[in-house]
């Protein structure tokens, strides 16, 4: 029993070692880069911490983190299955577009209107991702290729319909879908100086559901099995092909949620200025958070923090690109640090098991001799 505890303790230490190692490495590399540009790195950190901890910054960061987190969840579902859904970007955009169209075309009380919009988005996202899953199992098309292409196709479809006289309306030099009625506005959490999106609650629920389904259900076990070893999963009775489609559909449905905080909380329509690229950010955040629901939440907040404070760095005379560099460095450091720690942990464990058993064997050898 004490031994089992020791293993757990080691596991905990290793678990903390990886992010710590990553942060130290990332700060070191970033400092060097800032120093090379001829600026003082420590002043930069000072600025970031000061500005990032202001209360309006905090609200901004949380609001920014919500879609990032949902996007990371969508990507992580694929990762746990060993699928690289690079198409979350296209999925959330086409999902948000059609959800905006459906929502703009009806006037219902909020408790019907909002769920209809959300479900529409999830269904459209699921279909869009499902196409890639279907292509993979029927034709063997790699999901990386198909989802990238579906991103482009999705963008074109939106471009086609988002025109005056089709599904869009012209307003100034912008085109957008009809504005959602007031009943479709999602609730907000009143905070100072600005409110936090109510969608943060949905994001938290989604994170909890992600953890529960993957770790506590039969389905989640099957999914993780396929991710760890497709051959073992097939032998254990998982229908691998069906699991590929199911997980793509789930990933797409989650991706469908990504655009919702914006649609139901800020823009209330899908226009040419609807945010793009959150799907790709989600990949970085999923990597950073190691597909762990809490880790990804922290990563999403960190991302928001960097973006928020990056703008302030510009005012202080730092290069604008520095934030992008920092983000890239962090992701690289995290991926490398986790891999190093994982390998180290595996090796230590194997050695421990070996030593333990060798000790047992020696003992029993002695027992035989003395017997």
């Amino acid at each position: 029993m004490s031994l089992a505890k020791k293993f757990d303790k080691n596991k905990l230490i290793l678990g903390l070692a990886a992010p710590l190692l990553a942060i130290v490495a990332a700060v070191a590399v970033t400092s060097v880069i800032i120093a090379i540009t001829g600026k003082d790195p420590f002043h930069a950190y000072q600025v970031m911490v000061d500005y990032g901890s202001k209360s309006d910054s905090q609200v901004w960061i949380i609001n920014k983190a919500v879609p990032y987190y949902l996007s990371a969840l969508a990507v992580a579902i694929g990762f746990r299955m060993n699928l690289f859904n690079i198409g979350v970007d296209g999925q959330y955009r086409i999902a948000a577009f059609f959800a905006a169209v459906v929502g703009g075309a009806m006037t219902m009380p909020g408790f019907i209107q909002i769920p209809v919009i959300i479900i529409t988005a999830m269904v459209v996202g699921a279909i869009w991702a499902g196409i890639a899953g279907l292509l993979k199992v029927t034709r063997g098309v790699n999901e990386v290729i198909s989802t990238i292409m579906l991103n482009a196709i999705g963008g074109s479809i939106i471009g086609y319909f988002l025109q005056d006289g089709r599904l869009g309306k012209k307003e100034g030099n912008m085109v957008h879908t009809p504005v959602l009625p007031d009943s479709a506005h999602f609730f907000e959490i009143p905070t100072q100086p600005k409110p936090i999106y109510g969608f943060v609650v949905i994001a938290a629920i989604a994170g909890l559901a992600y953890w529960f389904v993957l770790n506590r259900t039969r389905f989640g076990f099957d999914l993780r099995t396929v991710g760890q070893s497709e051959s073992a999963a097939a032998a254990s009775g998982v229908n691998v092909k069906r699991m590929v489609i199911t997980s793509m559909v789930l990933s797409g449905a989650t991706a469908g949620l990504v655009g919702m905080p914006t649609l139901l909380g800020i823009s209330y329509n899908y226009g040419t200025d609807f945010p793009v690229g959150i799907g790709f950010t989600g990949i970085a955040i999923a990597l950073l958070g190691r597909n762990n629901p809490v880790g990804m939440a922290l990563a999403a907040l960190l991302w928001g923090f960097l973006e928020r404070t990056g703008t302030q760095l510009e005012f202080e005379g730092y290069a604008q690109e520095i934030v992008g560099v920092v983000q890239g460095v962090i992701v690289l450091c995290v991926v490398i640090a986790y891999e190093i720690v994982r390998r180290y942990g595996l090796k230590t464990q194997q050695r421990k098991v070996g030593e333990e058993l060798a000790a047992q064997a020696r003992k029993s050898d002695k027992a035989e001799v003395s017997a």
Partner: protein, 516 residues
Amino acid sequence: MELAGITKRFPGVVANHDIHLTVRRGTVHALCGENGAGKSTLMKILYGMQKPDEGTITLDGEQVTLHTPGDAIARGIGMVHQHFMLADNLTVLENVVLGAEKLHGIGGKARAKIKEISDSYGLGVRPDAMVEDLGVADRQRVEILKVLYRGARTLILDEPTAVLVPQEVDALFDNLRELKAEGLTVIFISHKLGEVLSVADDITVIRRGTTVGSAVPSETTPKQLAELMVGSELPSPETRESTVTDTPMLTVEDLKMSAVDPDGVVRDVLGGISFTIRKGEVLGIAGVEGNGQAELVEAIMGMRPLDSGTVTLDGTDVSQAPTRKRREDGIGYIPEDRHRHGLLLEAPLWENRILGHVTEKPNSKGALLDPKAARADTERIVREYDVRTPGIEVTAASLSGGNQQKLIVGREMSHLPKLLIAAHPTRGVDVGAQAQIWDQIREARHEGLAVLLISADLDELIGLSDTLRVMFRGRLVADADPAAITPEELGSAMTGAASGHLEHVDEQEEEGGDDA
């Protein structure tokens, strides 16, 4: 060559400790010990693939340190691995010169050298044949030639007979004697006593990672050698009384499956297989690997679709049922390749206990997992099946092969299967685990389990089976009574030389009578 006090602490289980080995030039020196005794580790040290923690290696009176296989080759040590390292899509010539182009180029000179080596040791290698067209024995000769071509004077052969049928083993031994006659030294690793005694000049026995003794073949009986290896009485796979009943448990009829081989030719991998296994019966299938055994298993498990044929389990047609349904209905599966099909190597033991039985108790309640019950049951399996592990939270990868296999056997037996498919159940498993696994199969058979046993170990097959079939090129070509057959007779059917019902012939000429 002399090894003294070699100790290797190794992530895994068997640590080599304090090994002493002296090999005389121009002899065949056999290194024997059970699976997992540490033979392969020792050879890897000798070949420079691993560095010993303690101890010295002396070659011709000179103490050496081998950092890489390159060092070993430079000192005239060559290794023929258990798993061949040849490129299928190249010719023999190309395979031999690959990586050794500097020696004799890649053209006429190399060809001449290959011919010369081949002729002087009687290897009979054709330089221009494609490796993919060669049989196992020929490939092995190419591997030997590869090593000789690089100038080796000492050859290490790691379990060279594991993949050969008895007739091919004899041919290999003739080659080894030729090598010896030319003054080369051969280190021959094996755990098969008969072979060791027939070919070796000296024998060193390893047990639990250390050298426990040496023997001279002419003065040693197999039994004495066995006891040295095992440390006690050798376990035997023989089953005592028959427990075969009349109730069919698994019936397969006319299974057909075809596959497209790399050349684009459609080939029958299963050509109309039919058999019945009754309750309490062990049906053994002998055959050289790659003759359709893996496909047969996957067909019964529902992992690969059949072209035609039916699979009936306990009176129910399961031909169309998915794998999970078949497992729930009572098929237990000990896969041939436990790393690919039986385990999640990076997952903890208790998750591995769930693998394959996620829908069954105690692993889940309804759609939810029950990690608590699964953990508790894993503890039970670890205890009852003697899985040597410090706990159930360690990953499956940190266990030794034998302990991994015991966990798999424990898991499959815990769901009281009606049919157990055991593909090479004791491959790469140490002797203690081997005896336990045999015991468990026997015990379960006693309680009415039907077993489909596929093995390359002919003694295991003959010892455990109630009925024997021989598989060759996707067909069951022969059957035999395990009580009255020798491994040699089985071997000739495995190469396709005999078919029908094999009768034991006491005379010198061994031939399967075609009295079907």
